[in-house]
């Protein structure tokens, strides 16, 4: 089935003060997407009240589909389920996404089901909902970032997407022209 990205949820996982380049990059991206009729709902994760997953699994076996931590994830869950693409944006920190970004990724497990089934010959969780957005990752490289750091993220994100019963549209760096990322989103 052909899928066209019309609505993006952008989760900005920068934990501190972003530099000028980071801010400009996202501004340009957002404006350009708007010009193409793609709506963007952007969340600054650092401004939200978000707790770390405690691994209690109540969302799987106590209150199915609902996390017992009551915080701003309750705003994000319905937003995430109604977008076409969930775009994580993060500075690279120690060669990975920020802890803040990973925190939100961990908190998405209420959206899938505990039952395990075989997908592509591997164990994966069953879907809880009929459809999920595709995932994408845009990172700002840090001092010392190299090809291996990007390759690690590029190997990881499609795995994460598979476990989210979805697909990864792209993993890109802010060192690449914003037009490239724009094209990736528009034609995903």
């Amino acid at each position: 089935m052909e899928r066209k990205t019309r609505h993006v949820v952008l989760l900005d996982g920068h934990p501190g003060d972003a530099d000028e380049r980071y801010i400009r990059y996202l501004e340009t991206l957002e404006i350009s997407l708007g010009e193409r009729g793609i709506t963007v709902n952007r969340f600054q994760l650092k401004d939200l009240n978000l707790q770390y997953c405690t691994g209690c699994w109540m969302c799987w076996w106590g209150t199915p589909g609902r996390c017992i931590l009551k915080d701003d994830m309750e705003i994000l869950y319905p937003e995430i389920l109604r977008c076409d693409q969930l775009l994580y944006v993060s500075p690279m920190i120690a060669g990975y996404v920020s802890a803040l970004t990973k925190k939100v990724m961990d908190r998405l497990i209420p959206l899938i089901h505990p039952y395990i089934e075989v997908v592509e010959g591997e164990c994966h969780h069953r879907k809880r909902y009929d459809a999920y957005p595709n995932l994408a990752l845009l990172v700002q490289p840090e001092a010392g970032s190299d090809k291996e750091d990007m390759a690690i993220l590029q190997e990881w994100m499609p795995r994460l997407a598979l476990n989210f019963r979805s697909a990864c549209d792209f993993v890109r760096s802010m060192d690449e022209p914003v037009e490239e990322v724009l094209r990736e989103i528009a034609y995903a």
Binding site: M58, P64, Y96, I152
Partner: protein
């Protein structure tokens, strides 16, 4: 020697990581009776300053955690972000990644990251233990976990003896890399839901197990134009 074991499970002392760490430590002690070991729980993120200081003071560091969404739990990343490249300068650093899924395949991307992280931290990487199918071990009778625990014991002994995990044992521990045909067949049956159904029933939540509380079209959904 001062060994620091960092338990990165959000479940803390109730974690499977703790159980596996204990076996590993017993193996290390069987070789090095004078081993001084400290265990810290990263779930207390307010203590991150202490965790980092303990890394600076240790002679060897082991970091263990459960696989969360194909990577380290958020609290573990929080700790990693607090480290400075020289906190581990030249020290041995090893990892344990354990998962609920039985196959090692799921843990490979994070293992690749951990090898790279060791370089970034100027540490001496002593190996990354990968073990799947761990979720059930607290329910299993001793007979079922005996071999697994023996393997961890042997791995601990190899680390204390040789300064790194025995590679052959590391490979054995990680098996299966992918699902075998019998496991695939089993997973296609309702019997594979047994553990979840038992827990759902304990919580009187069995009938709600397919709930979709955030489904689009329910609640306050904004209409698209």
């Amino acid at each position: 020697m001062k060994l620091l074991m960092l338990n990165g499970s959000p479940r803390g002392t109730g974690s499977n990581t703790r159980i596996l760490f204990e076996q590993l430590l017993a193996g290390m002690r069987s070789v090095d009776a004078d081993l001084e070991a400290e265990v810290m729980y990263l779930r207390n993120i307010r203590d991150t300053g202490n965790h980092v200081q303990s890394v600076v003071d240790a002679d060897m560091v082991l970091l263990g955690f459960p696989l969360y969404t194909d990577g380290m739990p958020g609290i573990v990343k929080y700790f990693i972000d607090a480290l400075h490249p020289n906190d581990l300068g030249g020290k041995p650093l090893g990892f344990l990644v354990q998962s609920g899924f039985p196959e090692a395949r799921h843990s490979r991307p994070v293992a690749r990251y951990l090898a790279r992280l060791s370089m970034r931290l100027n540490a001496r990487h002593v190996g990354t233990l990968i073990r799947g199918g761990v979720e059930g071990i607290q329910l299993q009778p001793a007979g079922m976990t005996k071999r697994l625990f023996q393997r961890f014991f042997a791995l601990g002994a190899s680390l204390a003896r040789d300064g790194q995990f025995d590679e052959k044992l590391v490979r054995k521990l990680a098996k299966p890399e992918t699902l075998n045909p019998a496991a695939r067949l089993f997973l296609q049956t309702d019997a594979s839901h047994f553990y979840w159904d038992m827990k759902l029933k304990e919580n009187n939540a069995f009938d709600q197990r397919f709930d979709q509380p955030y489904a689009p079209g329910t609640g306050e959904r904004k209409e698209e134009t």
